[in-house]
């Protein structure tokens, strides 16, 4: 409990230093999401590439961009790292608390936005209301919120930093982003049903199974990413 | 408190010995009376730009010879020194100063007679100044 409180304190310390920036970005992304949802209108099916893109971004990447610039990765020589994190690692804070604080912070950056997005989508999209009862929609939401954990938590898990020269960095970025985009495009062309649509079907047909599976994956993912960060902290040379 | 200690790094005499000797002279002259606290080892080390290892050595020797007393947690203080010892130090300090002056003169190839002349001259001037 004591550790949890200390971790929360550290996360809040970073958040408070940039509260205005965070709220601004939060608002901006919410409005963006809102405009995407409303352009779809309530007649357009949820089985649409745009919806897939919106979900993947919201549950994967967007929280990273919620961070104000000075708390994002900064380059020092061949090292990309988070200055605040490096500073904290020199203070007498246990590794456990430090790791915990990174995940709490990510949760604060990601969860409210994701939650809001899910709520707005259901309220504004009649198509979705037709397909899913409120109870099934809760299942659907948990599927996605869990996805935000076992996939999204790779973000705080990378907080220890990254060593790469510019060439490797550019190459890795292209491989990562380009690969993701390519996969996404191919998926959209090849399959008739979108990713989000599939999860709708899952929530409808196998609510219990998808619920359990999602929660188990989220719990496992959270532990995995935490130990991943702990391990990385020991491997990297902060030269 | 800064002590009037002057160290000669060019000298062959080890630094700790110079410190020890000059502190003894200060004690014998009464400038550092009984009960006066000596600066802490670290403080003197900074003033003289000498390591604490050297200062500690000098302090230890003073303590062993009974010139100072250390009270745990309070510091080092000048001890009570018997008059004959004070006298002895005064004498030896004067002797050493004279010896040094003579050494300097000799190294500049002055003869003993010349040295004596200089000595008398200085003494006379000094006496006149006093009047």
């Amino acid at each position: 409990m004591q550790e949890w409180k200390q971790a929360l304190g550290l996360a809040m310390f970073e958040l408070k230093a940039s509260l205005k920036g965070f709220l601004f970005v939060f608002l901006l992304y919410t409005l963006l999401a809102l405009s995407v949802i409303s352009t779809l209108g309530d007649s357009v099916s949820i089985n649409h590439g745009i919806v897939d893109l919106l979900f993947l971004l919201a549950f994967g990447f967007v929280p990273l961009f919620m961070k104000p610039k000075e708390f994002q990765y900064q380059k020092d020589g061949d090292f990309w790292g988070l200055p605040f994190f490096i500073m904290l690692s020199q203070l007498p804070i246990t590794k456990k608390v430090l790791v915990q604080s990174r995940f709490i912070l990510y949760f604060i950056y990601s969860f409210p936005f994701q939650f809001l997005l899910l709520a707005l989508l259901y309220v504004l999209n009649a198509d979705l209301q037709g397909m899913l009862s409120p109870l099934s929609y809760i299942t659907f939401s948990i599927i996605w919120l869990s996805f935000g954990v076992y996939v999204g938590y790779i973000m705080p898990a990378s907080d220890a930093g990254y060593k790469a020269n510019t060439k490797k960095f550019v190459f890795d970025s292209i491989a990562q982003y380009g690969g993701s985009i390519a996969l996404f495009v191919i998926y959209q062309y090849v399959f008739d049903y979108g990713i989000v649509y599939w999860t709708v079907i899952f929530a409808q047909k196998w609510p219990f199974l998808s619920l359990v599976l999602s929660i188990v994956l989220a719990l496992f993912g959270c532990q995995y990413w935490k130990s991943y960060l702990k391990k990385k902290m020991g491997e990297i040379d902060y030269l | 408190m800064e002590l009037p200690i002057r160290l000669s790094k060019d000298s062959r005499e080890p630094i700790y010995h110079q410190i020890e000797k000059q502190l003894k002279a200060l004690i014998a002259s009464g400038l550092l009376a009984e009960g006066t606290p000596l600066p802490s080892i670290r403080a003197l080390s900074k003033d003289l730009e000498i390591s604490v290892i050297t200062i500690r050595r000098a302090y230890q020797n003073l303590e062993n010879e009974g010139f100072t007393k250390t009270i745990q947690g309070k510091g080092t203080f000048v001890a009570k020194i018997a008059d004959p010892i004070k006298q002895q130090i005064k004498v030896s300090t004067v002797y050493q100063a004279m010896e040094k002056a003579i050494e300097t003169a000799v190294s500049y190839d002055y003869t003993f007679q010349q040295i004596e002349g200089i000595f008398k001259e200085i003494l006379t001037t000094y006496e006149e100044d006093k009047k």
């Binding site: 310390f13 605040f84 | 790094k9 000498i50 390591s51």
Partner: protein, 287 residues
């Protein structure tokens, strides 16, 4: 007496730079200056001590605790101020103190306020907006009052004016007297070293040249002005010569040799620390 810090056989290879093997012991109550040319590995060594860089061999111990990734306890024994403090920029001095002070049970708030007042640092301004000198001063004010057994300062005075440097050395001397504490610092300022250091740990291009007691080092170097021409072969103890001047790091042996060979000298003078360090880093006078 248990050493405060013990560095044993530490090695690290970074690209084509090889640091070590390094052995260093720091005893309670002593100040050690880490001296070396640029790129000699001083900061890397400090980062290894702080466990921010993984050594390829060797280990570091603080008191009886090995410094490792598995343990966290050792961090409360060391306060470390890197050459460039990172992560402070978005925060004000007040905020940083709020973060740091509660982590150290012996935090001395009176000392913090004293430093802030003396150095005249605004606590309500973001760190990133302060001048380099003010940043350095604020970092010191956030580091020294932690009152840990070991204080590590990497180039603490590089942007400071003379009065502030003077004040800092007074503060550090005072700080040392509060208990069995130790300081390990790097500095390119001979002045800092002359005033504060008890030991000089000399590094050259990653190689350890030695850990010298300051006065023993200064006492062992003498420069002679010769009367007579010197022989072509090196004189015993000689480390460098320039016309009729020679420098020896073993004056006793040198003088013996000069006497035996009937060579007269006019004068003998000690070298200052800066000259000695220069000689050591030039690879001269190592035994």
């Amino acid at each position: 007496m248990t050493a405060t810090l013990e560095v044993s056989q530490i090695e690290k290879k970074v690209d084509d730079f090889q640091l070590g093997p390094i052995n260093l012991q720091i005893d309670p109550g002593t100040i050690t200056a880490l001296v070396g040319n640029n790129g000699s590995g001083k900061s890397t060594l400090l980062k290894i001590i702080m466990n921010m860089v993984n050594p390829s061999a060797g280990h570091v111990k603080i008191f009886d605790t090995y410094i490792s990734h598995e343990e966290d306890d050792w961090k409360s024994y060391i306060s470390y101020q890197p050459q460039t403090v990172i992560g402070y920029n978005p925060f004000t001095g007040n905020k940083l103190k709020e973060l740091i002070a509660p982590l150290y049970p012996n935090w001395d708030d009176a000392l913090f306020l004293k430093l802030i007042e003396q150095f005249d640092i605004p606590l309500n301004k973001r760190f990133g907006k302060l001048s380099q000198g003010a940043q350095q001063k604020l970092s010191l004010a956030l580091t020294i009052p932690r009152n840990t057994a070991l204080l590590i300062l990497d180039e603490p005075t590089s942007f400071m004016d003379i009065p502030s440097k003077q004040y800092l050395s007074d503060i550090l001397v005072d700080w040392m007297e509060q208990g069995e504490r130790s300081i390990l610092l790097t500095s390119h300022q001979a002045d800092d070293i002359q005033k504060l250091a008890d030991y000089l740990f000399v590094l050259q291009n990653g190689k350890m040249i030695g850990n010298f007691e300051k006065d023993a080092l200064t006492e062992s170097y003498k420069r002679y002005w010769m009367n007579d021409a010197l022989p072509d072969i090196p004189v015993s103890g000689e480390v460098s010569r320039n016309g009729k001047q020679i420098i020896s790091n073993q004056p006793d042996i040198t003088e013996q040799y000069l006497n035996d060979n009937n060579l007269q000298w006019l004068d003998r003078k000690a070298l200052d620390l800066e000259e000695i360090i220069t000689l050591l880093l030039a690879g001269k006078g190592r035994n």
